[in-house]
Symmetry: C2
Subunit: 130 residues, 2 copies
């Protein structure tokens, strides 16, 4: 396969680039994960999100254990070529759960100001106990 | 100031974390940049996005030269504590321009399939010549 399109990406020293998953329709930002050349190529080929797990140092087919597969509708690259944006449909037995905590989005902690100083507050519900 | 909230973030080896800027209202993902402890603290204090420029190795007050300041309405942290999501109003003389190319969003290159293989195609207009 022609890999010029993969060479256009400014992979970091670890050969990775951050990838944002945004939900089709709602526009909600679901998560940020990392992709390698191979994971992005597999994502394009399968039209399902495949990331690179930095903790496991392995390909991570999103939903492989949870069933929360992400169907990929669109793949974008930013102006610097170092960040990827996916438009996804978050599928699964309970649709719309991207986070391993059972929440819709991984970005559920909101910075709020309190008398003792700024604090992170969980503001979205767990839809399904993991 | 209490800095516990900054300690909650899993800064990388360079002391940075990726920050996504999402436009209030439209939900459009405008850009991904990087933040340091100081830039995030300044963002909270000023309610305007301050990033860390990895190329210049300096604080980057978004809009300091372009005028395309981002007013910050909401700051979120993800489940792993290693990615930040900002909800912003993209202001400026011509509002709604986040990209240094004069486009609305930095994610203007779309992956398309062509007979010769996948290719990145610019799919959104330049709103203002930089």
């Amino acid at each position: 396969m022609n890999t010029d399109w993969l060479d256009r990406i400014a992979w970091n020293a670890d050969g990775l680039a951050p990838a944002i998953a945004q939900e089709a329709g709602s526009g909600d930002v679901l998560m940020l994960a990392w992709m390698s050349r191979e994971s992005l190529a597999l994502t394009l080929a399968s039209r399902e999100a495949v990331y690179w797990s930095r903790s496991r140092q392995a390909l991570w087919r999103k939903g492989e254990t949870s069933g929360h597969v992400q169907q990929v509708q669109d793949i974008r690259l930013d102006c610097d070529g170092d960040a990827i944006l996916l438009t996804v449909v978050q599928t699964g037995h309970t649709p719309g759960i991207a986070c391993h905590t059972g929440r819709h989005s991984c970005f559920f902690s909101q910075l709020q100001t309190a008398p003792e100083g700024p604090t992170w507050v969980s503001v979205t519900p767990v839809l399904k106990t993991p």
